[in-house]
Structure formats: C-alpha cells, structure tokens
C-alpha cells in the first residue's frame, strides 16, 4: 500500500515539477525536425569506447524524404544535467531556468520524439499531465462537493425534496456518461481559449457525475441521522444545519475518500477523451488527449509509433488508482 502511494505520488509529483523535468518549452517548435523518433541514447561512442556520460548524436533529415532521419555519428553531444534552458515558473510563482537534463544545441534530446510541429513530446507529456491529472482531480472534487451537498439535503430532509433530487439523479445515472458529457459540452461555447476550456471541462465533467456519490451519501445520512447522539443534539436544540455539519458530515468522510479514488481515474479519462475528440482543451496547450488526436490520421498511425506513448502512460496511472481502490476495499467499481 505504501509503495502504491509512493508510486502514484511520484507520478503526480513528476507532473507537478514539469518545468524542471522537461528539457524544452511546450511551445518550442523545431520545424526542421517534425515527427522525429525518440532520440537514441548511447553509451558507446564511435570508437567503441564506453563512456560514463550518456550522449546523443545529431539528428539530420534524410534529403528528399520527409520524416525520415539518420544519426550523424561524428557529431556527438553529451547529456548534461542541471542545465540552463528556457525559463519557467515553479507553481506559477518562482521563476527559474534550470532543467534537470539537456544537451547543447544544435543537438536535441527528444525522449519521446517530436510531433508534427517538431515539439518535444516528452516536455508536452509532462505539461499535458498537469492538465489531464488536475482536470481529473478538480472535477472529482466538484462532483463530490455537489454530491455531498445534495445527498445530505436529500437524506436529511426527506420528503418531496428527497424524491425530487433522487429522481433527477436517476436521469444522470441512467444515461450513458459520454452521451451526457457530449450533450452538456454542446451547450457551452465551442471556441474558447484553452484556459476557459479547461475550466469548462472541469465544470462539465464534475457536474455530470454528481448523482452516484449523492446516492451513497444519502444512504449514509439516512442511517446516520437516526443515531442517538444526533437525536440528542437535536433535543438540545441544534438546528438541522448544525447537526448535519457537526455529526453527520464526519460520517461521510470515508465514503468521500473511497468515491474519490474511483472517480479520479474516470474523470482523467473523460478529459482525455473529450480533448482527443476536440471538445476539450485545445491547441496549443498540451493535454494527453489532444496529443493523441493526431493519431486519427492514417499516416501518423502508420509511421510514427511514438505518438502513442502518451496513451500508454495512462495505464500506470489507472493501474495505480485501481490497485489503490482494491487495497482500500472500495465496494463496487462499475465504470460510470
């Protein structure tokens, strides 16, 4: 369990420190090198001598052929660590320009290759991870907040309010979630700046998923409000709101945590899917989703396998959360 948390935490941390870990800026285009494959890292140089420091060789495009490259063994550049590069901000506040690793120009270190504009995929992957992972987290927070609010009101007050909220929630549970996301997304303006798109996305995804947590929380509240210490508080004159806040809400914490573990990966996937289809975060801001979008073109799919890498990265994230859910014994893991 601890190992799991460390791994998941490590991944999230890596994404948070994207500025430091990525060798290049997200928007930096290298028009000379579109669709370059991942750079090979060598330890043995042209003379057959093994070196301590790994190095890369200069990439040059084959004349007359688009997207085919060969390495020039004669020109090699060592990989340096803690190099100075383009400046970025830590947490949006502290400015710095140290990167974990890099190579001197004109060589390039593309750990995951480049895309059609010659942008380093590894850097975009890290920054895109910020978008995708935080979208998942924030949207889950929204869903849980909405679900807790409505579930508690529904369970505590009962009566027609309960019936109304639950019927409304049934609609959300009944529908296929992607259709619901589409419908909801359709009602928002299509061409917005990436920043606003990000917020809209979180709002849409978070709003769609309120119903299931609300149902669970309502269940907890229904049994919780009958506890004698809750009754005692009401006898003392505690108002409904007080009782809910002081006594019933703490009973819901464990449900909230377990639901979060289930929701976060689903929402990350929702963001990736929507961005992939063009309904989410758009260019030039990277997200794992829109990085995969170019794969819809046949020639990309055929020739440039490294473009799949952001998608493959989803697997460890999901695996981490699935295992976490198993360990926490979250009951029921039905994909929404």
């Amino acid at each position: 369990m601890a190992i799991l948390l460390v791994c998941l935490g490590g991944l999230h941390l890596a994404v948070l420190t994207a500025g430091f870990l990525s060798p290049y800026d997200v928007a930096q285009q290298d028009r000379e090198l579109p669709f370059a494959p991942p750079t090979r890292i060598h330890f043995i140089d042209g003379q057959g001598i093994t070196r301590w420091r790994p190095f890369v060789c200069l990439l040059a495009e084959d004349p007359g052929q688009f997207g085919v490259y060969h390495e020039d063994i004669q020109k090699c550049f060592p990989i340096r660590f803690l190099v100075k590069g383009t400046s970025y901000r830590w947490g949006g506040v502290f400015e710095s320009s140290r990167h974990l690793f890099g190579v001197d120009p004109p060589a390039r270190l593309f750990l995951m290759g480049t895309d059609g504009f010659g942008r380093d995929l590894f850097s975009r992957f890290l920054y895109g991870g910020q978008i995708s992972l935080s979208a998942g987290l924030l949207a889950s927070l929204l869903s849980l907040a909405l679900g807790t609010l409505l579930g508690m009101a529904s369970g505590f007050y009962g009566g027609w309010l309960d019936a109304a909220i639950m019927r409304f929630g049934e609609l959300f549970i009944a529908l296929p979630w992607l259709y619901l996301l589409f419908a909801l997304r359709a009602f928002l303006p299509l061409n917005v700046s990436p920043a606003r798109a990000f917020l809209l996305l979180i709002a849409v995804i978070g709003t769609v998923g309120w119903a299931r947590p609300a149902r669970l929380i309502r269940g907890v509240v229904l049994s919780g409000k009958k506890q004698h210490y809750v009754l005692a508080a009401r006898i003392f004159g505690g108002s409904g709101v007080y009782v809910m806040r002081r006594h019933i809400l703490p009973q819901t914490y464990s449900i909230i945590v377990t639901q979060a573990v289930l929701l976060v990966p689903q929402y990350i996937l929702a963001e990736v899917t929507l961005s992939f289809l063009g309904l989410g975060v758009g260019e030039p801001v990277p997200s794992w989703g829109n990085m995969l979008a170019s794969l819809q073109q046949y020639h990309v799919m055929v020739s440039y396998w490294w473009m799949l890498l952001p998608g493959i990265a989803l697997v460890p994230v999901f695996l981490g959360y699935v295992l976490l859910a198993n360990v926490l014994r979250v009951p029921g893991h039905v994909r929404v």
Binding site: H228, Y229, I235, F236, G237
Partner: protein, 275 residues
C-alpha cells in the same frame, strides 16, 4: 435542599395525547399503527413518575413527543403553564430546553468522535452560552457532580465503561439546567451494582437540583424502587396510575397484574416495603 412541596400545579401535564403512524403508499393499503391513544398523565415538580410497559406500548413515543422529536397528532402537553403543541417553533425550542432525555444505549448516544468534555459542552455551544472559560468550568463542575473525575475530560467516549458513559450522558443532559429529565430505559443493560450507583446518583441530583424525572422502564421492580408514582402503559394507553405500594399490593388492571406476576416475589415484597 429539601424537595419542594407538592404544588397544586403539576410541572408536566399530558392530556389526551394521540399519535398514529401511517405508512401510505398509493399502490398498497394503508398501514396504521396507533402508538399513543388518549394518554393522560402528570408529573409534579421534584417528583419521579415511572412509566412502565412492554416494548411497543408507546413509552418511547411519548418521550419523543415530549422532547419535540415527534409531533403528536392531537392532545395537549402542558409544561410550566404553556401548551407545547400550540407553540411556534422558536418558543417551542425555548421551552424545550427544560426537558431533556437520557437514552438507553450510551454507546449510540455519545458521539465516538468527541471527548468527554466536548460531549458535555455541546449543548452550551449550540446555545452559545458563555465564553470558553466559563463553559469549561461548567463542564468540569458537571463532571464532578455526576461522579466523573475531571482528569478524564479529554478521554474519548468509548474509553469509558458503561456506567461511566451513562453518567456522562446525564451530565450532558443536565448542563442546560432542565426541569424535567426523561430517562428512557437508561438503566437497562447495566450491571446490577452499577444500576444501584446510578439510581443513587439520580436521587441525589433530584434533591440537589430540584429535578423531576420521567423514568421509563419495562422493569416494574426497578421502577418501584425509584418512583413516587407509577403509570402502566399498554398498547398506547395509560391503563393504571398509582403509587408503588398500590401497584404492588392491589394491581387493578389485568396487564399490571401480568407485569407484576413476572417480578420474583421476594423482590416484590422488598420493593413494596422499601418504596
């Protein structure tokens, strides 16, 4: 302080209280349960009325109506000259402070997430009484009154024994200085020796705080030891009301006689002579 003389005006008077539970679904027949059927009783200031009956006789429903957790369908509840059922919300709440309840299960009645001091302090917090210093002093005072050592004030509720938890519950109920304390089977589930201790505590508190008790129990013998008057409930009605001696010597209603028959004779004799 001597117990106050029996005044002409009882502290609490219940007249013709009725409550029916119905479970109505539009596709099924109605499901009716009469919990309270024209209930009459009265408690004098500083006295103890025991309400005895089997489960389902309506004792707890009556208690719930008195504290305001349930709403009676009809009838009157007169408390200190005011009809509780005719009061508006806020007035009802103000009067409601004077009536408090101690539950049967102390485990469920005390929040597992709060310390002893927090539990006792809660009613004060709800009513925003006094400053923090005054409140904590009051809390310690209450703990001493019910026989709990003040150095336990930061212990979690489930770290206390059963008897201590009931003391805690009593302390919490008394912190707002109520006039009437309802004990809903508060001694059930405790060891006999602990029961005795709690009974003594209750009797002492009645003297020192001029409390009235509504002592609900299914145990006729225990009721006889504690009460000044016993009311027997059966199927939502008060079928007999008399002093303990009367009940034990000359039970009139057949249900009282059934209850009495269940009490071992030797104990009944001592209850009669001691009560």
């Amino acid at each position: 302080m001597t117990p106050q003389a029996v005044t002409a005006e009882p502290l609490l008077q219940v007249r013709g209280l009725c409550k029916t539970y119905s479970d109505r679904r539009w596709w099924q027949a109605q499901f009716l349960l009469t919990a309270l059927d024209n209930v009459y009783l009265a408690i004098q200031t500083g006295r103890t009325l025991a309400l005895v009956g089997e489960s389902g006789s309506g004792k707890t429903t009556l208690a719930m109506c008195l504290v305001g957790l349930e709403q009676a369908d009809s009838g009157e509840i007169w408390f200190e000259g005011k009809n509780l059922l005719a009061q508006s919300g806020r007035n009802r709440a103000a009067v409601g402070r004077e009536i408090q309840l101690v539950f049967q299960d102390s485990t469920g009645a005390l929040s597992p997430r709060m310390s002893a001091a927090q539990i006792i302090e809660e009613p004060l917090l709800i009513h925003r009484q006094g400053k923090r210093k005054e409140r904590s002093e009051l809390v310690l005072e209450m703990m001493a009154k019910v026989g709990l050592s003040p150095k336990w004030k930061d212990r979690w509720a489930n770290q206390f024994s059963g008897g201590q938890r009931q003391r805690l519950a009593i302390a919490r109920a008394l912190v707002l200085n109520p006039k009437l304390l309802i004990l809903d089977e508060a001694l059930a589930g405790l060891d006999l020796s602990i029961q005795g201790q709690i009974v003594n505590l209750l009797l002492d508190l009645q003297e020192s705080e001029a409390l009235s008790y509504l002592f609900i129990s299914h145990n006729l013998e225990l009721a006889g030891q504690v009460a000044d008057e016993i009311a027997v409930m059966y199927q939502g009605q008060v079928v007999e009301r008399a002093s303990p001696t009367q009940i034990f010597m000359h039970p009139r209603h057949p249900h009282t006689q059934t209850l009495l028959a269940a009490v071992p004779p030797r104990l009944a004799y001592s209850a009669q002579s001691g009560g």
